[in-house]
Symmetry: C2
Subunit: 146 residues, 2 copies
DNA sequence: TCCTCTGAATCAGACAACTGATAACGTACG
DNA sequence: CGTACGTTATCAGTTGTCTGATTCAGAGGA
């Protein structure tokens, strides 16, 4: 069977390489790709929203809540986010960006945007749009399986 | 900036979820997704080829040679591959599939093929073909960066 | 009002990759 | 023929996820 018939495997292998590049990009900013993903979910909050819970962040960045817990601890230590509420099992905590967090994101955006341009990925804008669409299909299909 | 403009990030996040499903699939067969990738590279050898080196396998499955070394040790222990040559630093070793390895692959193929069908990924065959093509563009672009 | 069940957060350990360093082979060139 | 350099495989430690289990809150229903 031709290798290119293994679309899921292709996806995972290709993304693995992309992920390594991402990690390199963030290494200079003391962040991991998932921490960055968490920060941009928090940046995206509308006015009036009081933060997101750890569980909600986990859903949005597609990792386990336990993993988000660990990385949030690190972000709190770096002063990039705040955790409100007493914490503990069963207790929802509110997570919000700090001013330092906003500043860190502002510094991160230029190289992140550069890396995400279609050209950086060897694609045309139309192809990048298509890739995003196809990935959305895949995410939906896997969500339906749950 | 809209999240869907972060194509690279989309790719990594989506593939992460796909990768978890892959791991679940292989867990029942005492394999990891990367071990499976190694086995299919070995299966694909033409007649007359004497095996692949660890370095060559690493290039083909897109992980570090040190990581391939560890996983090969595991595959040898499971009797799925053989290592020929004395081994050691600087010494190329030949890696080849055993009969047990071929049998393990035969058992693995049906669920793997099922998981890689376009339908399983929420795609049409044309879309799956397109995704494979786009992923190849991305891999090429990143290879050129090296 | 009480009980049950679902969801949330924490705890603990495992794992499959990674990075960095090192030792030796093998090839090419002077 | 000897040297230098690139490649190969090994060694050692780290990391960012995972899984499984546990504890507790809170909502909903009886």
């Amino acid at each position: 069977m031709a290798k290119d018939a293994l679309t899921a495997q292709n996806l995972v292998q290709t993304a693995h390489v992309v992920g390594l590049r991402f990690s390199e990009l963030f290494a200079g900013m003391d962040l991991t790709p998932t921490q960055f993903a968490v920060l941009i979910e928090l940046e995206r909050l509308d006015d009036g929203e009081e933060g997101l819970t750890q569980a909600e962040l986990a859903r949005r960045v597609l990792v386990r809540p336990q993993s988000v817990g660990v990385l949030l601890t690190s972000l709190v230590e770096q002063g990039l986010v705040t955790r409100t509420g007493p914490g503990g099992r069963g207790r929802r905590v509110g997570i919000a960006l700090t001013e330092a967090g906003r500043a860190a994101l502002e510094r991160a955006w230029p190289p992140v945007r550069a890396f995400n341009t279609p050209a950086a990925l060897g694609l045309t804008p139309a192809q990048a749009g298509m890739l995003d669409e196809l990935l959305e299909h895949v995410r939906r299909a896997l969500r339906a399986d749950d």
